[in-house]
Symmetry: C3
Subunit: 326 residues, 3 copies
């Protein structure tokens, strides 16, 4: 059974959220619509819903990430769940028995949801394949493979500003090769029918046959930004510098850094996004990051609503009698 299919029950409802691959526009729209209705919760005086009261959500973080962990923790708490965060030693491996033993022990504690972050691709899927059917598994980033909740908060943020995907032009700029964010976002945009998805990067930071993902490739930032509605800047990881993949940070900024002047090439009402944390002066100029077109902090806010939505939907589907993963 493919990853895409294993996250759905027989009626095609979401039981896990491992990847956007293989999901339909209906699945994504359900998440976006639910997130829209939940977004208001955080603006109310009492920022809590009883949806997951009495449920136990376990954050299984094999890879450190304060930001992502925190938003999942807040999302779960605002749905009234009990939250357990386990920062697991990096020594555990996906294939090894020790990970499986850890999983089985935690599931024996009668938990309801695992949020998994791991440096190895396929880790969340591995977990979903091995846990008991009543447990929902969410992928909070696995290796270079996927970061589907980030992709959903990105398209949620886009939709709030540019509701019609059929005319949408998006440019994704920077280290596409190592970015699970880019990979998941490209898929989500294609599923939602985005008109034009561009990736802008040097050859050394592009995966082989990237065009097969359904994107147009640009090596020149100025040409790629022409008339887009959305610019998504990716974080440049400094480790990559040493791998000889890249010239210096300065040179990268000169060729691919987003400045106010370059942003002029996009549509006048274009928005600027970044999954964070930003490297000021490396991939983005501070004036752009803090400027009127930046929706970077909106993305953070939306991330909680989107994660609340995915938690509610997947656990809700587990509760239904026919929702069992058999």
């Amino acid at each position: 059974m493919s990853t895409a299919n294993m996250q759905l029950d027989r009626q095609g409802r979401l039981l896990h959220f491992l990847t956007v691959e293989g999901l339909s526009r209906r699945h994504l729209t359900e998440i976006l619509d639910t997130a829209e209705s939940l977004r208001g919760v955080a603006e109310r005086r009492v920022k809590k819903l009883p949806t997951l009261h009495g449920k136990t959500v376990v954050n299984l973080f094999f890879e450190a990430s304060t930001r992502t962990r925190t938003t999942f923790e807040l999302a779960a708490k605002r749905l009234s769940a009990d939250v357990l965060t386990l920062n697991i030693a990096h020594s555990s491996t996906v294939k090894g028995e020790s990970l499986l033993d850890t999983l089985q022990n935690i599931e024996a504690m009668q938990c309801d949801m695992f949020v998994v972050r791991h440096q190895q691709s396929g880790a969340a899927e591995f977990v979903a394949r091995h846990v008991k059917p009543h447990i929902a598994v969410l992928n909070a980033g696995d290796g270079r493979h996927a970061h589907p909740t980030q992709a959903m908060l990105d398209v949620f943020t886009i939709r709030r500003h540019k509701p019609d995907f059929s005319v949408l032009q998006v440019a994704i700029v920077g280290d596409i090769l190592h970015s699970r964010v880019a990979r998941s976002l490209i898929r989500a945009l294609n599923i939602l029918g985005a008109a034009d998805i561009r990736v802008i990067a040097p050859r050394t930071l592009l995966p082989a046959q990237v065009e097969t993902l359904g994107v147009r490739v640009f090596h020149d930032l100025r040409r790629g930004l022409q008339d887009v509605d959305v610019v998504v800047m990716l974080r440049l990881q400094k480790e990559r510098m040493e791998g000889a993949l890249l010239p210096t940070e300065q040179e990268f900024f000169q060729r691919y850094g987003l400045t106010e002047e370059r942003l002029e090439l996009a549509k006048p009402d274009a928005i600027v996004m970044h999954p964070g944390p930003i490297n000021r002066g490396v991939e983005i100029d501070s004036r752009v990051a803090d400027g009127p077109r930046s929706v970077i902090l909106e993305q953070v806010t939306n991330g909680i609503a989107v994660r609340m939505a995915i938690m509610s939907i997947t656990l809700g589907n587990h509760a239904r009698p026919t929702g069992e993963n058999s």
Copy 2:
């Protein structure tokens, strides 16, 4: 006043849970019966009871233990308590003033229960002797001395499969010498009137005069397993290898490892237990650990119900007017 007596009030009710030593069959049965009624909570849609709402439970962990800490934390949260976990530096000592100052400070924050884990024997008792009378103290493992909540979850798991202790034959296999689990379990089984308790180990891994605990000693695994109802395998700590107490892991497995073939010597419906985490291929073969007779993961599940029971009982006894520890 002995440890055994100091955990009871004048009416003989449990105020702390430090050791099974000195408790009566009535005490243990009360815990088991309460755990039985609480076990269902984790299977309900809303896995919470209001029993400890507004109470503060403090996990004082001087020794790392994700598994034990997590089950206590979940037990407290499912009883609606506020939980505070303090991982305290190993430098604090049981006798030193610094531990006492730490304790007094935390109790001044008006906490209701201390769950204590410490590498020194007697630590939980030390804490119980020094905290204010309204605080309940639970021993979550102290040195080589005791691990009484583990013993209770073990006998709880046994009772669910083999309700009649008067005909029960149990074999405990492996490193008895360093095991607080074994020590507590032997006492609990004796109190509950188990018919036959056997320890199976090489001489180097047995305490002096182990027979005085009320067990029969075997050095040969095959002879010891003959017709038992329950096999409890202990974790072999790799540090022991270096202490020249032991031959290699391979040799240990050859002589004392539990395999499917050896398990045939036990009763046909015998169950296999292990306090976890298991060392596959050292003390237990994977086919046994994952096989149909293994109740190892049930032990984890039961651990939460048993800890909820002990928390409810001890705090309940503190609330009674005559329950004061005077």
Copy 3:
């Protein structure tokens, strides 16, 4: 705008709690009276109030402090808030963009209160200047500058024993130079109209022009203790020893350590305070610390009520329509 003024709204109500400097006796009395009414909560069977239900309190700890962090965490939980604790790497600096980016990300998660502890003076004020107006900021200690919640719990403890500040004589003993506790306490006592505030220390441990804070300076412990109502001992930080500021610990104790015999010089009903953790035998003798006049553990208990009061007051003022910081 001064720190003092920026923590008040136009009607002079507390929006943040950054320093006692610039506050009026009315502000301090409101906190003390509210804390008095909240002190009873911790003695009830259910130690919780719904005041902050649905609010998110974030502990931003740039400097480790288990004790202070724990009391803030308990205060927030007893007011039913959701609590998030972030132990942030010491590398973040107050002026650097990275701290600002961290702050903006956390505030984008729709939090309601930041509790800030930082080794640099002015950090909490920096945070308050940069967060969105709906967020309340509490200073949990910034560099050598201030520790205003500690000062409030100190004056709260004093008032419960010595209600009339107009006749109150207080001696603060030890390392005044490096103590944010001393600085904040001296200001609070002056605002409340304490009759006589003395500092007792060697010259090397006094700030320049300390008299301008409104205190009388003594270098001799015996003379300084004469007839005081309250003795506040400060923690001597061992790092100071190496800086040549001090003779040995033994010599310090000989000259400035509080013993039973020296305490005889104070009023017969004088109380002894210490912000903790105490160095037994360095600044205070154990017989005094544990003696009948010590209110050191009462201070810990009061700390929770005082922090609950400050949390309730500042968030309550944010909720009012005219409370906006404009």
